[in-house]
Subunit: 250 residues, 8 copies
């Protein structure tokens, strides 16, 4: 309708009913942002081609399922993160074709045609306890259209296991590294590859791990200059950026 | 010389002096990492094509200048960061063709032939006090081969100034956002662009800014999923990763 | 009765029974604070005209309901905050005319005659998870006599949505902004309006949000000079001050 | 010039050269934010009527003096905060009619006609070491057009001194309270007045005062609901908001 | 028995069986600390005359009750702190003459003859939520032989209520002040009395109270020099020291 | 003069010029706190009999010396703490009879007649670096009228040295323990004596001592219930309270 | 199989099919790390001779039991830490010969022949609440082949109890000290013995113990130079290192 | 002389002047700790055979030199740490045979006969900025009698350099690892060796390294169980414990 308002003013000018100066005056007071709003969002969805995402933490099963159904009805691909088993069950009842990744705690619904993978992302984690975060990243990246290589349980105390995976590492366009405790793995990986490394601190650990804060701080102080960091346990965010990198330039 | 060791063993096999089994035995005990070291570094410099970098903080003017000269003598491009005026003067005496970027506090020496820019990076900062960090990022990115668009003094309290630069923002392959105080700018920028945003908290502020910690935490909690974060004042690191992104996939 | 004590001394002087010097002596030892107590409280309730408030957190349902009934019996308006569903049920049994705002977790009982709203307060929040805190603020402000305009889900990652509400923002006498995660919204809003902005950090977020501490620090470092801050999740306090501002000067 | 662009399009419509639909198309791609930028700022300065402000911390004497002169040349009132003696001397050389408040470390230049004070602000501080912050607030408030009542050295360990100033306190439209160490004064003051209290933690103290953090935290936890808080030592920000409150509603 | 060892050596010297030099040698290697152990403990219980104390937190009901019974059997007075209702029930079954203070969460058993109170302790708290901690202090102090005056709900936002209790305050030999949130009360009280004030931060509050840390820091920064501080919620410790003070010098 | 105001009203009643009701009215509006102010302070100085104290940190040499002279002129004893050598020299020029304790960084001027010591205070410190804080406490205590026993360099890593001083410890009415690093000494001392122990964390240490914070936290968690704590390096405050304890009950 | 790859290349050289230069080329691209991987692990298990360890925290009972069974089947000794009662029951059903140490929350299965103890480790704890951590250390050390001496409830507030155990302390080759609250015990012990002391902070305490952080910081600041520290509650880690020390050099 | 007191009592028993019971009585009141003091220290120096150590930080050049001379006069070996150049010059004037290690900032004076090295310690550091701390450790270890192998600049971002030194690593009886920034190196090293690793966080870094706190936390959370940690920059302490380990069991 904002466009309508604009067209009305322009039509009035066209009809000679108002002067261009007066039209300019009126336009300055138009809620032009609504126009911008639509445009930006449109541009964005066109450009990114990413599915809609629901962050389910702090929502009831009913709320999450409701949003999921609404998005599903519009025909797009849907991704929900931080989905617990109870919520998953509710969604699956309504959308049996959706898929629940229990370790990743994510729910995906693919409705678009299959597309070739755009770029390759390596997802690493240090210990088995970091796997849920790594899986959130991996499932997100796959859903967003990337190919994913998983290299799990490659902690720095057994650095040879990591070195053994160097070939896989080197084939990736972007690397996601999930680690708790001392969070040292991204630095080591950063030294082995020539692509951006996105470090995800996990809340794995106890005592002076302070819920992932130690890993977070360690990653921010990485001596490898190709390491950037996201919030604790934010596998989704890491995959979002890694996907943008891996698909290459526009 | 490690290669020499390897060749000696292989030559002995070739001459029939030792069996292949015995050669395998000897090789297993070789310091193969040295081989790996050279190879990796070689691979790395070939693949990245990045200049050598000196981090001058905590080094004396003489030490920094000494390393600078040594690298310069090898014919490569050289970048030194955190270079104060005194150190710069020492370097310039020996290398008058080097260039000191006083605001960025970086020293560059280009010895390679000019190449076309690989990708475009937008560098933003929130306030004028953030400019030194932004310039460290900008000079680094240019030195690493990217085209750089600077959008400075675009703080969130005057969001219209930022919106006015949207066209420039949208042309970038990666965006670097430097901000101190509350560190809110990356989230706003992240919502406007479809490429990775690398957030650099700066130590600008006072009181409860805690030397940039507040900005750092804010950026890690960004509601824009395409934001990743580096250490406080780490313009260099942000530019390093942004360059890898902007030049596109291998 | 303290006034009585005072009058008795004065009467004794009047009757010539004690000298003024002796009276001064006695008065110096009177518990004059009691006088002050009554006077201050009286002044305060007269001047503020605010309802009585119960902070229910940490009280049992029975305790809260008991205080609620006692205040209700005195005929004043009553507001209880941080009221859970169980406590609400107990109160509603005794006071069916009370109203429970389940999202805001507040209980209100209006017993005074309706009055025209005194000033307008805009209440914003960044995400849907911030709504409970925003509602605590909104319900409090309405109960305290202000008109409230709600602008919800206007996070900085979609700044156009915020800009679209600028007209409503500009009509407010005071603005309350609730935000978790990076807490960037108050700075952006502060740049758009010419009235005081009261920022309420919320405990929404995870990992390095540290229960709202990151949002709190961000708001304290706001680059907008018209922003002041209250404690995490303190929608009530924000509304209390906003009401004082919005009703205008005495 | 953006207005020019707009007028050119409108004139083309007026001349019948382009249709309104086509004009709408072109306009959608105009950098409309520039228009908004100018408008907002204009609105803002008109509405607020506040002088231009320079934050001198982190700027050289020459830089601050340069900006000061530029603003002074435009005829507006100018306020500079965090001005050290050296910078003050440089400014005074160029602007002998400016006034340096050495304790407040602020520089003011009044060029507009005197106006009657708009509202009254009480500025309190707990100890003599808090006076510089209190003075920054007081000078700012006066420069912004408010009447200021100073109540200094009224710490909570001698609460009678504070009570003795109750009459002055009660005449204020807004109260600014500056305190370091335990930061308890705003709570006590908040209980005595019926207007908003803006608490300014100061970096006064040692050991576990952590540069004002303890005072800041104490103020955020105030048991008086009419207390809001600004950053450590931010006398300017407190005065900015207090002025908005004290001048009353638009 | 250690004394026995010593006497044996001395007897051997007495009998001329060993020389004093040789005896000195042997003694140097004796576990003399055991001697010290007994002596110290004996001295201590004689000198302090305090009941035995059990800290029940982290112990099972059975464990606490078992220790309680063992101490009770020895005829001394017994005090148990941090006793929940379940544990209290178990103890009361075995010791019906014990007394459970449910608010203070302490259990007392008096078996010694009544003695006149030794000194007077005023126990204050800021809000009703602080009462459990204040009661732990009050019950402990009474059990340790002091007279206790309770002044509750005397927060600094209503400083007149505190002033109204000045007479009671001034009669105390030591004052315990329990407060959460901003923890400002001890400073105000410290300014009103001439005796030691022991400040007890409580974990009352939310958000930036950080579980009592803010109150703790505030109290440590008190501007009243007669304030010392104990751990968060440590009503027992405050009463222990206050009792030592109130009973006067040996 | 406030008393004068009061007497004038009373005299008017006495003369029958105004009724007692009217007098009560007037009195209610009198700044009665001024009366309280004088009374309290008078009571306080009479009761405490403590010298006037100047906290010199953050004051210029001239300011400190000025206050010192003003107090000295009134004939009282004067104590100044945190006095650097330069300030001391300025004071000594004007007051050659004053005494500068260079290690304690305190300046004392005794003008009252000598009095017998009131109680005994043991002052301990853990290492030689803690001595300045311990001396601030010791000099303060002596100036306030207590006898002081110094037990220095008695760290817990050599617990036998501490045990060797047990006799001196046991003669004290109150004990002050200054320690940096891990701050363990107060707990050990608390277990050896039956009187209050006031723990003073010092800023001695490096790295994870965080300027005395570690020692402070350790002392607050002391397992000895007779330990209370003051701010980091606050030897003065510890001595103030210890003096109140050591002089015994009123 | 990597060895196979290597042998194939070498055989080709032996057969004269490829030159040694070409062989070197090929080898440089071999995944030699796999070779290293096997070698390292083999070396490690041979050299350490330690049982396999399972960290059960964060694993389900089924997962832990599954891993336990798998390791048990290989004939080695097995140690599982952080095993709750439910998990223990599951394991014991399958492995009745395993032993559950309920206080230490560890499960051990010995399948190797008994060996003489290698060295002696003293395990101390400060209070009874620290015993679970101490037991985790003690059971681990015994399982790893050391003799263990337990000295429990030897807190610093009763230093004589510690001194009484000096003989036992002095017989140890390494000492583990577990303490919560102020964490002072390792410093005292460090002063009494001439062997390495490994300090284990425990999460015992409340309020300002911050879950063991205060004890941790205290231990890191120990004035005894023979103290090193592990993470909060990490009895296992302390025992691991202590065992390496106590068994003496290779 | 304490021994004298003891001998006097024993002599009196020997002479029959006092009974053994009476002697026991007297002895119980003897300052036996003095005896213990001497004995302990004697035992300690005999057992450890370590030189005397002076911690020069916070001491004046004169003080340090004075203590150095006093110790030197007694003929023992002397080690002083944290010695700046100025202090070194003063000491060298008096003790030209002493040796100043300028990078390590330590001063050593060897006066005892050369002894064969007892055990081997590997000292690693991550970056060149960590070398001063590593050298403090290395010089201390050598002075204490160990052989030292230095492996410097072996950061985790270039893990191959570390692997290349594996042979040297494996020959060590104890390993000291100094690292700042993310502090990841000890975990990697811990995985490569079978001996205790002592991690020394260094204050190298900026921003979120928080003066070494991040490295410290990372090391405490090491996933390698043979890692223990000392305070930030505490090279001396690490070498002290490493020496005890490397020399093997008593």
């Amino acid at each position: 309708m904002t466009r309508e308002s604009l067209l009305q003013i322009l039509a009035a000018v066209e009809r000679g009913e108002i002067s261009s100066a007066s039209a300019a005056e009126r336009m300055a007071s138009l809620p032009f942002e609504d126009l911008g709003y639509a445009r930006v969002d449109h541009h964005r969805s066109l450009r990114h081609g990413l599915p809609e995402v629901i962050y389910a933490a702090g929502k009831t099963a009913a709320q999450t399922a409701g949003i999921f159904s609404k998005l599903a009805a519009s025909g797009v691909d849907v991704l929900a993160t931080r989905v617990d088993a109870e919520t998953a069950a509710v969604i699956l009842t309504a959308h049996p074709q959706a898929h629940y990744h229990s370790v990743a705690r994510t729910m995906t619904l693919r409705q678009s045609a299959a597309k070739p993978a755009q770029g390759c992302i390596a997802v690493l984690c240090a210990g088995t306890s970091d796997i849920p975060v790594a899986e959130e990243a991996a499932v997100t990246a796959v859903t967003f259209g990337a190919q994913v290589v998983r290299i799990y349980d490659a902690g720095v105390a057994g650095v040879h296991r990591l070195l053994a995976s160097r070939a896989e590492l080197e084939s990736a366009d972007a690397v996601i590294v999930c680690a708790g405790m001392e969070g040292a793995l991204p630095s080591v990986v950063g030294g082995l590859v020539g692509v951006p490394v996105i470090a995800v601190p996990t809340s794995v650990g106890y005592g002076a791990s302070f819920g992932g804060t130690t890993a977070l701080l360690g990653m921010l102080n990485s001596c490898s200059p190709n390491v950037t960091v996201v919030n604790i346990d934010n596998g989704f965010g890491a995959a979002y950026t890694a996907t943008l990198i891996a698909r290459g330039k526009k």
